[in-house]
């Protein structure tokens, strides 16, 4: 299990390959990548991601440990960025490896649902005119936790 919280971009291909190469006996590797999309309200200049440095690593470790306990996983990887990103940039990725694909897919979804609402990150959309707005948490994201 590996957790990385960083400002710098990550190499999706290299991270995925290194992760897949390191797991023996896994029949399934699932990855999910989050990408900064344009704001609904207008042209976005940047997305600024703030986090709580003392808590972020621990919160992510707790979520990933929970996934390792609940599913039969060989390994799990979470990378999450903070700082100023622009549309098209990759924000984060998760990877899961398991003997069978069902465990790998479900654990990846679980990780994503919990990262949305239980990892201390806050997103702010900065529009090209200079206006900025904090992204509000959605009820649907909180509801998504209930299925686990």
């Amino acid at each position: 299990m590996r957790i990385k919280v960083q400002e710098a971009p990550f190499d999706l291909g290299a991270e995925t390959e290194a992760f897949a190469d390191a797991v023996d006996g896994a029949g399934a590797v699932v990855t999910f990548t989050g990408v900064v999309r344009e704001a609904d309200t207008g042209e976005m200049a940047a997305m600024e991601i703030e986090h709580y440095p003392g808590m972020t690593q621990k919160a992510l470790e707790k979520i990933a440990s929970e996934a390792m306990t609940r599913w039969d996983l060989a390994d799990a990887l979470v990378i999450h960025r903070y700082g100023r990103l622009v549309p098209g940039d990759r924000i984060m990725m998760v990877a899961t490896a398991a003997r069978h694909r069902k465990d790998a897919f479900e654990a990846a979804e679980f990780l994503m649902d919990y990262l949305k609402s239980r990892a201390p990150f806050w997103k702010k959309e900065v529009l090209k005119g200079g206006a900025a707005e904090w992204v509000a948490a959605k009820d649907a994201d909180e509801d998504a936790l209930k299925r686990w």
Partner: protein, 81 residues
């Protein structure tokens, strides 16, 4: 005790962290002390349902006791992923 603020809570209060001497028994008591200080605190803490709290870097709630707590953080619901 160190108090940390994030996202729009930080912006409304105008600082990322501060140290306070308090005898507040619970998080809610501390919030009342802060609200009584200045309008910017009142504005930040006007609606507790829009806020989350962490004690020593673990998510907690407003009824929680502050006994032995060294760091408390207030922030809006998280938007990771």
């Amino acid at each position: 005790m160190d108090i940390l603020y994030f996202a729009w809570v930080r912006e409304r209060i105008g600082l990322p962290r501060e140290s306070v001497e308090t005898s507040a028994a619970t998080v809610a008591d501390l919030v009342e002390e802060l609200r009584a200080r200045e309008p910017r605190y009142e504005a930040a803490f006007a609606d507790l349902s829009a806020l989350r709290v962490a004690l020593d870097q673990e998510l907690s709630d407003f009824d929680a006791p502050l006994d032995g707590v060294r760091e408390i953080a207030f922030f809006p619901p998280m938007t990771g992923g």
